[in-house]
Every structure is written in structure tokens, then in C-alpha cells.
Symmetry: C2
Subunit: 330 residues, 2 copies
């Protein structure tokens, strides 16, 4: 399998993606192409140890910044790492693309260039949340911020396929994120999506509220991309604020409390590992005709390595073929 990694995606570039690529090559033995400004990439690579035939570099002199408008920059920057990588993916020079760069630009380039799987109207970003019970896939978290009810049904079907074939769940439960459990709750959009999901062949369990998502009450949760993105970012933001608050509080605490905190650290480390986005590495962009994994902008090298594993799983389990099959059966 051949992977291509966006060397200009993320907060510390090209260092982090390059280091992540080397980790992946050394640990999994796959071939990785790094795409971005060639000289800068080689400059990071030169101090690293890896089998020389396993990493290649493709020059992409342009960069799409994290905050640039997606559609415009994809159209204008043909020589950017994102646009060129998607082109190589389309031409089957590589099997999967991993980027921690501008999410909107990746979604836009992939949708325009790779096109969508038959039966899919909009792609969706699927994030796997750790919960108190089993893991939960939330789709969409930002690819499609103004969806139609039908798109949510398609997300349900795609999430179902992923959960079955990659996560090995037998009859994944699919729920609709809402602000109440009763079927009468929510906007007209939500009510229509509810009806479509309940009439589908999915194991639809109805509406779900955020707390139940964390409790692990569903295998797949579908929502519009705006709400899903808020869900993701509130989680991240709150976790950050809680940790910060604890740090500040400890600073002003007695030495007993401080020593206590040190003694409690192992428990916190286990929890951090459990909920850390690094462990999951990347979120598949589902529905495009190709394998695209979107990583968090703040990904470290471990996260990039894990994103390669996510991509490999996606390929090995033929997720896209299963999605097509399931959609065809509707």
C-alpha cells in the first residue's frame, strides 16, 4: 500500500508530518510519499533514520493556509500539497491521502476531483469518540454544514458500513443527535431525518442527546456538520478549560493537595490516553471515491502515524465497496 501525507498540513510543518511519516514507515513498512516544498521536507528527512526506498518526496511549492477560504484556494493553488495529492490519488499513484491541513480545502479538493461514490450526495467527516462504553462514530463533524435530511440517512448507512467492517460491530445502532429524546423534538429538518432513518433498514434507535453519546449508547451518531463540529469543538474546548482550571487551582493549593495531585497523575495519564485524539489519528472523509483521512491540525507525529493505520484499515476492509453495496440495496 502506498500512502501520501500532506507535509504542509498541521501546526508544525513540515516537521510533524515528516516525522509521522517516518514513524509509519518504520513501524508498518508501508511506502509513504511526502508532498510539499521539497527542500523543506528533505531538510527534515536528512537527520532521520528510515529505509530509503520507503519514502519519496513530491514537490508542491504552494501551500493552502489553515484559514484560507477553501473553494477559492483549491481553484487557485493547483500546485499546493492538497490539490496535487488529491490528483495523485485520483490517478491511482497512491492508495490513500492523509492531511492535517485546511479541512475545508481537503473536503473541497476531494469532492471536486475524486467525485462521490454512487448513491452519495455529500461527503461526511466521521470522527470516532471514546465513550464510557464502546467507541462511537459521529458523522458529520464539518464537511457539510447545511445538509438535507437525506444526507443524514446516507451518513447513517456509511457509518453502519464502517462500524460493521472496520470496528467489527454486528448490528451497529444508529442514532440521531437531537436536543431531546422524543420523536417530536427538534427542527423540521431533524424530524424529517428522523422519519427517513426510522423507515430505513438501519438499526435506528431514535434520537440521542449529547450525554448519552458519551455514555456510549450508540455505535453511530448522525448530525449536520455544523452541529457536529460544535460537538467536537465544545468537547475539545471544555477538556482544555478543565485541565487549565485544575492547573491554576493546584498552583494556589496547599502542598498536601499538590503532592496528592502528583500521586494521582497515573490515573490522569490513563484517562488522557483513553480520550486522546492522538490514538485515533484521523477521521475518514466518507463518501468520496477514494480514501482520504483528515487529521486534527494539532496532530503530533504519533497521530500522523496512527492516521496511516486508519487509512490502511480503510483500504484493507474495502469500506468504500461496502458503502456502495449498502447504498445500492436501498
Amino acid at each position: 500500500m502506498r500512502f501520501i501525507i500532506d507535509a504542509m498540513g498541521g501546526d508544525r510543518v513540515p516537521a510533524t508530518p515528516v516525522q509521522g511519516a517516518v514513524l509509519a514507515v518504520n513501524e508498518y513498512g508501508y511506502h509513504v510519499t511526502l508532498i510539499g516544498p521539497e527542500r523543506a521536507i528533505r531538510n527534515v528527512l536528512k537527520d532521520m533514520v528510515y529505509p530509503a526506498d520507503k519514502i519519496s518526496v513530491v514537490d508542491a511549492p504552494e501551500t493552502i493556509g489553515m484559514d484560507e477560504p477553501a473553494a477559492l484556494s483549491v481553484r487557485k493553488k493547483k500546485n499546493s500539497s492538497i490539490v496535487k495529492a488529491v490528483q495523485m490519488l485520483k490517478e491511482k499513484e497512491v492508495d490513500a491521502f492523509i492531511s492535517a491541513g485546511n479541512t475545508g480545502a481537503v473536503v473541497c479538493a476531494a469532492t471536486l476531483n475524486l467525485r462521490l461514490l454512487p448513491g452519495v450526495d455529500r461527503p461526511g467527516i466521521a470522527v470516532i469518540f471514546p465513550t464510557l462504553d464502546k467507541s462511537c462514530m459521529v458523522i458529520d463533524v464539518g464537511a457539510n454544514i447545511d445538509p438535507k435530511p437525506l444526507h443524514l440517512l446516507q451518513y447513517g448507512i456509511m457509518g453502519d458500513a464502517y462500524s460493521k467492517h472496520i470496528l467489527g460491530k454486528i448490528k451497529p445502532s444508529v442514532a440521531l443527535l437531537n436536543i431531546g429524546e422524543e420523536s417530536t423534538k427538534g427542527t423540521e429538518f431533524i424530524k424529517e431525518a428522523y422519519m427517513m432513518l426510522s423507515e430505513s433498514k438501519l438499526n435506528f434507535t431514535g434520537n440521542i442527546e449529547p450525554r448519552e453519546v458519551y455514555e456510549g449508547k450508540a455505535d453511530v451518531v448522525v448530525c449536520d456538520g455544523f452541529v457536529g463540529n460544535v460537538f467536537l469543538k465544545v468537547t475539545e474546548g471544555f477538556a482544555y478549560a478543565a485541565a487549565e482550571l485544575l492547573k491554576r487551582e493546584l498552583k494556589e493549593s496547599t502542598w498536601i493537595t499538590k503532592i496528592g495531585a502528583l500521586m494521582t497523575l497515573p490515573a490522569f495519564r490513563v484517562i488522557k490516553k483513553k480520550v486522546d485524539a492522538t490514538e485515533y489519528g484521523g477521521a475518514p472523509l466518507m463518501g468520496v471515491d477514494g480514501r482520504v483521512i483528515i487529521s486534527h491540525g494539532s496532530s503530533n507525529k504519533e497521530a500522523i502515524k496512527n492516521a496511516v493505520r486508519v487509512a490502511a484499515d480503510y483500504i484493507n476492509h474495502h469500506v468504500n465497496s461496502h458503502i456502495i453495496e449498502e447504498l445500492n440495496s436501498y
Copy 2:
């Protein structure tokens, strides 16, 4: 000042609202009317100590359950605590209504019966979030789940008035909850609201992401009620899940970690107090022509007492008059 408290609102009724009323009477000296099934209320009251002339009971034999459809139950249950209390508020028999009951029913009864302030098209529930810096008012968190952009401008103006006159902030910053900071981000709805806010006289500081809300970067954050409700519930749900995870992890920890956790407890208690919804007690339903405070369904008696304080502040600072003034100046 005379307050009316919904004795049938919340998870433990009528015990908690009745106990909260007694606390408020004893601490603040206000008069409180308890509304609900009279016998059940008196049954709780009989064991409590309070000045007899400060609490009265009004019988309301019907109850609107937490999960009943709002509009329908308000129309049908004329003798419910919620409908009767709003009626008494309308007839100026009381100055403010506090309920931890069915939020939708409270919003519906208040909107239909009290009507809205001149210049307001939809009411909004305003919650005060603790942040790493100053407090932040988020409006709307669930009254209006399918708003027009204009409603968000009105929320900004109402939040501005509240922040100035109750929280004493000089030039409150108002921000728009969005999934990115750039003005080009978000749905058409969001972009239109952005334009209206930036053309207003408010101290509009642009888009804000969830993490910055927690960092305390804005005094007022406006959003549609569906997204605001998800924001609120993700916060609550995540806090619950994190605490649960810590508890489970500690159970499996070494005794050193366990003792450490015990020693760290004081810091956790301070944090809990800082972020506990109990301290705020209630969220004003802004925009209705009357004073209605909505408390969390899980409110304890302290929270009910604090909701009375929130209501008293609302009255003392003439928030509704200020809202009318500000809206008139547009």
C-alpha cells in the same frame, strides 16, 4: 417582591422546589408563592421552619411532565402549575416566575400569555457560563431552535442590556458562535447574522469558536437555540463523563493514587463550586414581557434559592425596560 415557584418543576417534586422556596424566604426575606398540588406542597412544608406570612400556596392540580409536548400540554392543561403561574404573573399578582419544569412548556406558556417585549420577535434562554476569565452569557440555548438571523441580533441586544445592567460590564463584547473565526465561515444563516451584528451598534467582535467561549473571550455569545442547547448539553455530558471516567480509573488504581486523589479533593471542590450550575441557579427567559427564570431540571434546593436571587436582580435592575430602550434605539 413576590415570587412564584413551580412546585412541580424538576427531578424531585415537590420536595426540592419547596425546600428551595423556604431557603429563599429565610435568606432573602422575600414572599414566595408555591404553585402545584396543594396537599403535596403542604405536606413538605409542614416539617419546615419559616415565617408563615412569607409563603403561600396556590393549588394547581394538573402537572405538565418533563417530556410532554410543550404546545399541546400548555393548551390542554389550564390547571397546571406552569400555565396558572404564568397567568398570575400576567395579572401582576407576582413579580417573577421560577420553574425547573418542562422548558418548552414554560417558554410556550410565557410567549403566548405574557407576549413579547416591543421589538422582540422571539424569546431566548440566556445561560451564564463560567469561563477561565470573566463569565459569559450564551443566548439562546433552546427557546428558539429555528431562528432567523434577525433574532440573533435581538439576542445580542438583550444580552448586551443584561451584561451592562446586571453584570455591570461597561462595553460588553458580543460574539457569534461559529465553526471558524473568519467572517466567510458558516451557513448562509450565520453569514447573514454576522452582517447584521457587524452593522449594529453593539460591540460585536466577530465569530467565536467554542474553545474561546471557555477562555472567556466574549461577554455575550449568540447562537441558534439548537446549537446553543447542544453546546450546553455537550458541556454537561462531557463533565459527567470525565468525572465518571476518573471515578472508574481510581477504583482500579493503586492505593498511592487513591490517597493522592483524596489529598487533591479540595482543589476539585473549588473547581466544582466554580463551574457548578447551582451557583447561577437559573437562566432568564429574555424577550417575554415579564420575568421568567428557567432552572435546570436537576436543580437542588440551593439552585432554586439562587434562581430567586437571579429573578430579584432582574427586577431590581429593570432589565426589561433597558431591553425596550435599546431595541427602540435601533
